[in-house]
């Protein structure tokens, strides 16, 4: 399984990352991408931008651990995770997860799993610029609940190929 993990200030190109992961391969039957984008509002209030702070070293290590975990749970052929840091304006991309497998079930499940974990375990913190000032985004209980659903024993079911 080919894994690429990048933390960067620059925007990424979804199509280019899919192309890199799949070029010349004829064993990949399914590719899922998730792109997280900066919206112009947070908790109902307009924002001018968000700034992502991270813990260098730990962020990469945490993401790598979860990519390994995903690879142990599902038969993956490739994973790319890119997470930006620094100031990001509405409409710009923030995070990318690409998963490749021979069949769709594994690709979908692994991408959802990685996103749930990035939201709750990877050491990143979002601050938004609102009219009332700069505010740290609060963690969502719904994100913790979403991550919790993966704590049951891995399914590795062969359904829905």
């Amino acid at each position: 399984m080919i894994a690429t993990i990048r933390l960067q200030a620059e925007a990424f190109d979804v199509g280019a990352e899919v192309e890199k992961l799949t070029r010349g391969r004829t064993d990949i039957g399914a590719v899922v991408t998730f792109t997280g984008i900066c919206r112009a509002d947070e908790a109902g209030e307009p924002i001018a931008a968000l700034t992502l702070e991270h813990y260098p070293g730990m962020a990469e290590a945490e993401i790598a651990r979860h990519v390994e975990e995903a690879n142990a749970r599902w038969p993956l052929l490739g994973v790319t995770v890119i997470h930006r840091h620094g100031r990001i304006a509405p409409g710009e991309n923030i995070v990318l997860v690409v998963t490749a497998s021979s069949h769709r079930e594994a690709a979908f499940a692994a991408a959802a799993f990685l996103m749930d974990y990035l939201k709750t375990r990877a050491p990143f913190w979002k601050q938004v610029e609102q009219a009332s000032g700069r505010i740290w985004v609060e963690a969502k209980a719904t994100d913790d609940a979403a991550a919790e659903r993966w704590s049951a024993p891995p399914p590795r079911r062969d359904a829905a190929k």
């Binding site: 997280g36 992502l52 702070e53 991270h54 813990y55 070293g57 730990m58 962020a59 290590a61 945490e62 997470h83 923030i94 995070v95 996103m115 990035l118 939201k119 709750t120 375990r121 990877a122 050491p123 990143f124 913190w125 979002k126 601050q127 740290w136 985004v137 609060e138 963690a139 994100d143």
Partner: protein, 83 residues
Amino acid sequence: MKLLYFAWVRERIGKAEEEVEPPSAIATVGDLVAWLTKRGEGYAYAFENPKIIRAAIDKNHVRADARIAGAGEIAFFPPMTGG
């Protein structure tokens, strides 16, 4: 021992990192938070609700009962909001 602070923990304490030498009675991450809390207003504010503070020893998530002996760096931060 090196301490790192992130996000609003960093802002409230007023620094991103520092070196500290806690007394030998400070055995766990929870003990360390209690000890830091007494170092000043910024620390007290940062750790006013210790239950929501997350900690990592040498870049691994740990709980409040984790022992700090042998730690190279210990980081404190709010719940993560990446992704």
